[in-house]
Each structure stands twice: as structure tokens, then as C-alpha cells.
């Protein structure tokens, strides 16, 4: 039986050890809640609206690598690919709360929804106001009229960037929530899977994909996408992906976007750059302006090969939050 070769200690401790390594890599900016699989900023301003994110581990640098100024205040880390438990989320909630309420921002998966909802009820019982924004940017997961059934994928990064900047600036939880909801309405992603990643605990691959096929729209955990097909050329793939994205969120001349290429793990920059060349030709034809391009491994699925394209339509308000300086393990702006 195939077992992925990986540099680990006891597979049962991967999450805890990884969080220790992450806190150390922050050189003081972030700390682990003692004994718990949660990270929080070492200094959180008084009176600020708090932003708490979280989800299953194994997608590093998401979520726990996105904590910092103008980003998240804390993150609750579940087991690999498993939503964090409610009591952990509750402890993280208490640790980041500064009297102005806490926004929960996370990917829209059954497990995360249920666990964060239970935690929110527990937090309300303790007098902490909580609001929730679920990220659902993956256009492959459901048709436009059932957006709330879509998964959260790479768009998490832009959502955290914008909600984090809003939470640092605005004084009310409702106002921060409104900004996040607006960002979500202007956000679309579509991914493509090339090779499977593996579960660190078992070394087993998370899905099967023939040696000469890819799957457009496959989720980060191997959830089925919109089309499995023979490996196409990069330009043809770019055309296909952009067609699906633009059908879901039409763009017109003069629109301005941020463009994110997210590497699921083992895809090369070379491949994504070659795809970017075509994507930019398509956008240029439409007269769409690209305000900023981000490319890298932000939301991974272990050593899975594949990538996604995310489009975020910007207006003046969103652009302000998008451009706000920020620094965390995953990136600096």
C-alpha cells in the first residue's frame, strides 16, 4: 500500500507540533493558547472588534498562518481536515474578545458550520456577541442560486485580508460583518486538481485521479468538481476556467479586480505563471483592470498538485481594506 514519505514525528501530534513551530516562526507576534490548538496575536488592541478564523489543519498556511495586524486576531485549529471542536473555538473566542464582539469567519463546510455554531451559542451564553460569515467562493460546488451550499477555498485569504482590515478600523461588529459580506458577494474561485495529497496520519492519498487526467472544480479534500478530463494544454485550461468564473460573475470594461493564483501544494510557479499569461490576455480583452496579482501556496491540501484562480471585484471601499498593510506568517503586504 502506497504511503507518502513525510518528515514528521508521531503522526498523532502533527497539529500541536506544527502550531508550536508556527508560534516560534512568528518571532513573538503570535502565541499558542496554553495547552490548546489555537493561536492568538500576542497583542490585541483594547476595544477592537475581534476576528476569529479557523478550520481543519493540513491547509497551511491557512488558517493559523493568517494571524496578524489587519488580519485575524486568532485561529482555532482542528485536526487534519477536521473542523475544530466547539470548546476549543470557545476558548479562542474568549482569548480574542475585547468587548466589541467577535466575527467568526471560516469556510462553508458542514463540520465547520456545526462546530462554530455550537461555539457561538456557548459564547452568547457567556455574554459574548458573535456574528458569522461563512466563505463560499467555490463556483464548482453549487449553482449560483444555491451559493450558500458552496465551499470556501482560496477566497478565504482575501476574505481574511479584508475582514481583518475592517475589524481593525471599524468599531461595530455589525459593520465589520457587512464589509465581509460585501467582499463575499464580489468573490469567485475555481480550482483544478492534478494529483492527490495525502493524510499525514496515514500517508494515504485523499483521492484517486488517473495519471493523465485532471479535474476542474475538485475541492481541497477531493470533493468532486465539474469536469474530469484528459490533461489539456495550459491555455485551453485557462480558457475553460475563466469561462466558468466569468459566467458566474460577469466583468465588464473598467472593472477592477484582485487576482489570486493559489497553489494547492505541489504545483510549480512555472505552470501558474504560464496560465496567468493567458488569464491576463482574457481579462485584457474584456478591458478588466488587475489591481494586484497574488500567487503562491496560501490554501493547500498537503502535497496535492493543482491550483485555483480567484477573482475579487474591488470598489473603493474594498480596495482600501485590501491594500491596508498587513503581516503574518503567510504573507506581508
Amino acid at each position: 500500500m502506497f504511503k507518502m514519505k513525510k518528515v514528521l514525528n508521531d503522526p498523532a501530534n502533527v497539529v500541536t507540533e506544527m502550531l508550536d513551530g508556527l508560534a516560534l516562526a512568528s518571532d513573538g507576534a503570535v502565541m499558542r493558547l496554553p495547552g490548546l490548538d489555537a493561536l492568538v496575536r500576542s497583542e490585541i488592541a483594547d476595544d477592537k472588534v475581534a476576528l476569529l478564523i479557523g478550520g481543519g489543519s493540513g491547509h497551511e498556511p491557512l488558517f493559523h498562518g493568517l494571524i496578524g495586524p489587519n488580519l485575524a486576531d486568532g485561529a482555532a485549529a482542528g485536526g487534519v481536515f477536521a473542523a475544530p471542536a466547539p470548546d476549543l473555538i470557545l476558548e479562542a473566542t474568549k482569548a480574542v474578545h475585547r468587548g466589541r464582539g467577535v466575527l467568526y469567519l471560516y469556510g462553508n463546510y458542514a463540520g465547520d458550520n456545526m462546530n462554530f455554531d455550537i461555539a457561538a451559542e456557548m459564547a452568547e451564553d457567556e455574554g459574548i456577541e458573535v456574528r458569522t460569515v461563512r466563505v463560499w467562493d467555490d463556483v464548482a460546488a453549487a449553482p449560483p442560486d444555491r451559493k450558500e451550499e458552496r465551499r470556501g477555498i482560496a477566497g478565504d485569504v482575501y476574505m481574511i485580508k479584508i475582514a481583518g482590515a475592517a475589524a481593525a478600523k471599524l468599531d461595530s461588529l455589525a459593520a465589520v460583518e457587512a464589509v465581509a459580506v460585501k467582499a463575499r458577494e464580489n468573490l469567485r474561485s475555481l480550482g483544478v486538481a492534478v494529483r492527490a495529497g495525502s493524510m499525514p496520519e496515514t500517508g494515504k492519498l485523499t483521492f484517486e485521479l488517473p495519471d493523465d487526467e485532471i479535474e476542474i472544480g475538485m475541492g481541497a479534500h477531493g470533493e468532486a468538481g465539474v469536469s474530469r478530463q484528459k490533461l489539456p494544454q495550459a491555455d485551453a485550461l485557462a480558457d475553460q476556467m475563466m469561462e466558468v468564473l466569468l459566467a458566474d460573475m460577469p466583468l465588464k470594461a473598467g472593472d477592477e479586480i484582485a487576482l489570486l493564483f493559489n497553489n494547492l501544494g505541489a504545483t510549480t510557479f512555472m505552470e501558474m505563471l504560464i496560465v496567468n499569461r493567458r488569464v491576463r490576455a482574457i481579462l485584457a480583452d474584456l478591458g478588466v483592470k488587475v489591481h494586484k496579482t497574488d500567487m503562491g501556496a496560501f490554501v493547500t491540501s498537503q502535497e496535492m498538485a493543482g491550483f485555483s484562480i480567484t477573482l475579487l471585484k474591488l470598489d473603493a471601499e474594498l480596495k482600501g481594506y485590501f491594500d491596508a498593510p498587513a503581516s503574518c506568517f503567510a504573507f506581508t503586504r
Binding site: G56, G78, G79, V80, F81, A82, A83, P84, A85, P86, D87, L88, Y109, A110, G111, N113, M114, N115, D117, I118, A140, A141, A142, E149, R151, M199, E201, T202, K204, L205, T206, F207, G217, G219, H221, G222, E223, A224, G225
Partner: protein
């Protein structure tokens, strides 16, 4: 309940493989983590009534499992245990009340219903199979078999919740991992009641 924990922990590879087929391959790992927590808690706390045992089980699952399964099975046992109040024993009636209360809570929490290819299908099979049972042993035997059939029936279903949702037709032929888990739990409970 310790026997149930043993059985679920032992079934890890089977559950993980089932989740690999139509989910993200972590179901066995999560259930194992959760029931190791249950074992620890039950050994430390030794609750007195069946309701209390089930409640402690639910709390441990809720805090240790993570994922959809933690919320689902945690809520299930916790709410089901609460429904038993502080009765000293469970009878057939109590057992049915436990299953029904658990089902209602899971449905409320997750929004799924029978036929959506989740553990609720095994649960529905269990509930209807034990409807006529007179005593706990009979109810457990019937429920275990009903859950098995309910889990089997999920093979023919298309998932509407959880990570298998977008698989659509492709999920057909594969059983739901959470439904398998429930069937394993009830089977282990039934066997330990028969032998102990």
C-alpha cells in the same frame, strides 16, 4: 459504552477508507480520536445513570472528535442522554426516546433529513426496526440490524450534505461513513449487552 468505544476505535481503517471514497478520508481518524476521549472521560468520571453515561459520551465526542462527525455524534449522544433524565435503567421505551431525541437534535443542528446520505439514515433504520421491541435486549438487537440496513441503503443515495455533496451520482455505490459508524456503535452495544 466502553465496548462501543473499542469497536469504533478498532474500525478506524474501515471508516477512513469509506470516507476516502466519498469524503476527505478522515472519518475513522476523527472517530478514533473522539472515542479515545470517551474512554478517558468515562474512566475518570464513572457517571452513575445511563443518561449520564450517554451525556458524558456526547460531551467527550463534541470536544475531541472535530469535523462534522464530532458535532453530529456529540450532539446525538448528549441530547439522547438528556432525554433519559436520571432513570436508573434503560428500557426499550427509554432506548427509543434516546434515539429519537438524538435524531431531532442532529436534524436541527445540521439541517439534513432522512434520505440525504448521512448517519440519519442508519438512525432512521434503527428507530423503525426497534419500534415494537419489548425489552432493551430486543430493542438493541433490532436497532443494530436496522442501522446496518439503513447504512447499506445509503449506498443507493446521492449525498446532499457533508463533503460528499458535490460527488452527485458518483457517490452511488458507496455507503456513508457516518452511517457505518452508527451501525458499528449499535452493533457493539447490542453484543456487549448480550454477553455482559
Amino acid at each position: 459504552m466502553l465496548a462501543v468505544a473499542e469497536a469504533v476505535i478498532a474500525a478506524e481503517p474501515l471508516l477512513t477508507d469509506a470516507d476516502r471514497a466519498i469524503g476527505d478520508g478522515d472519518h475513522g481518524i476523527g472517530m478514533r480520536r473522539g472515542f479515545l476521549g470517551v474512554q478517558e472521560k468515562l474512566k475518570a468520571e464513572t457517571p452513575e445513570t445511563p443518561g449520564a453515561v450517554l451525556k458524558v459520551t456526547g460531551m467527550a465526542l463534541l470536544s475531541k472528535t472535530g469535523g462534522a462527525a464530532g458535532a453530529v455524534f456529540g450532539s446525538f449522544f448528549r441530547a439522547g442522554g438528556l432525554a433519559l433524565g436520571d432513570a436508573e435503567e434503560i428500557d426499550a421505551e427509554g432506548f427509543r426516546a434516546f434515539l429519537a431525541a438524538g435524531r431531532d437534535t442532529v436534524m436541527k443542528r445540521g439541517g439534513a433529513a432522512e434520505g440525504d446520505k448521512t448517519m440519519l439514515d442508519a438512525l432512521a433504520g434503527a428507530l423503525s426496526a426497534c419500534a415494537e421491541a419489548q425489552d432493551l435486549r430486543g430493542a438493541l438487537a433490532a436497532a443494530a440490524e436496522g442501522a446496518r440496513q439503513g447504512a447499506e441503503a445509503t449506498k443507493t443515495m446521492v449525498a446532499r450534505f457533508g463533503k460528499a455533496k458535490t460527488l452527485g451520482e458518483r457517490a452511488i455505490g458507496h455507503p456513508d461513513p457516518g452511517a457505518l459508524s452508527l451501525a458499528i456503535m449499535l452493533q457493539a452495544w447490542h453484543e456487549s449487552a448480550d454477553h455482559g
